[in-house]
Symmetry: C2
Subunit: 202 residues, 2 copies
Amino acid sequence: MKSKDQNTEQAIMNAAVEIFQSKGMAGARMQEIADKAGINKALLHYYFRNKQMLFEAVFKSALGQLAPEISKIFNADLSIEEKITAFVSYYIPFVNQNRFLPVFVIQELNNNPVFAEQFFSANALPKTEKFRYQLIEASKIGEIRNVDPDQFVLDLFAVVVFPFVGRPLMKNLLQKDDQGFDDLIQGRIEHVTTMLLNSIKK
Amino acid sequence: MKSKDQNTEQAIMNAAVEIFQSKGMAGARMQEIADKAGINKALLHYYFRNKQMLFEAVFKSALGQLAPEISKIFNADLSIEEKITAFVSYYIPFVNQNRFLPVFVIQELNNNPVFAEQFFSANALPKTEKFRYQLIEASKIGEIRNVDPDQFVLDLFAVVVFPFVGRPLMKNLLQKDDQGFDDLIQGRIEHVTTMLLNSIKK
DNA sequence: GTCTATAGCCAGATAGAC
DNA sequence: GTCTATCTGGCTATAGAC
């Protein structure tokens, strides 16, 4: 009774994720996605109508993977230190397993400002106010250094995400080979946790 | 006696920078560049032969703007603290004036790994060893906390560059409008300097 | 649901006049 | 050096058979 084959649809999505995430919307080719999925172009259009819709499905699924855990961590009933630790230890390995994901998201948001605007008015990102509120309260009572919570959240995402986004550049700047850079990533959870906690410690 | 008109060449470069940096190599259109430069497609090819070569000229000029000052700062005869301060105060305003530059560089390096490889074997990035060596020495004599210099350089670039690269995402996550995010950028030099110095202070 | 074949368009590149 | 006109290939998308 089903009008779409679940396996085919899944194969298409997997292929599309791979191609779109490594080449971007503009650089991706429907033919290449079809090849990777083991089908032909016509079937691709049968399932997703056109390139834009396939792209949006991939993009939405990409952000859908990133968002829920952010939300869970920042809104949990945890201390500041616990949240920082949880965020860093969860996200660094996750992004390490999905290396193209953050570049893809960032690239498309920057290249298609109109799409970005529409997307965010339809799909809200997780809220981080609770965590930022905790930071304000803690600095009020002198538990941590006086710090702008918005700046600190920026720092948090920066030190976690940037090494993956800027990998080709930083690999070269630090004169590492792939193995050497992977080693650096391995040590990053501990380094980043320590450095973030130190930066707000009194 | 000249075979190329300097003004035309400059007009093309300016237009190409703008289009390539905002849409990327794959998304850019030669027609759009020609229009913006006030000429036609044929002349574009007369000056730069093909799209790839025009792109490479733009890319090289982009990295050429970023590299020299990094080199100057990190190899200067300055203390660790002075280098951090100089780097942050120079680069945040610079990138703020050239917002598309880092996304463009990062995006193209990630989307074209082969090109990236070739590019870096022909054009070396600035060296940061002197700075990293200073960090090692300073932690040996107990002047600063024990810190992996590679990790610290990663942090340095992360906190400086990421807010521009991840702007559309972070703007949304922090629930800012454009003005609010610009204000955050304004306060960033001071915040980042303090936070980096704190993170290595004993 | 899946395929082959092809329409139709658009973009990069060139020919050739001025 | 700059233009108009055009070729050529490639890519999205659809028509239509099975």
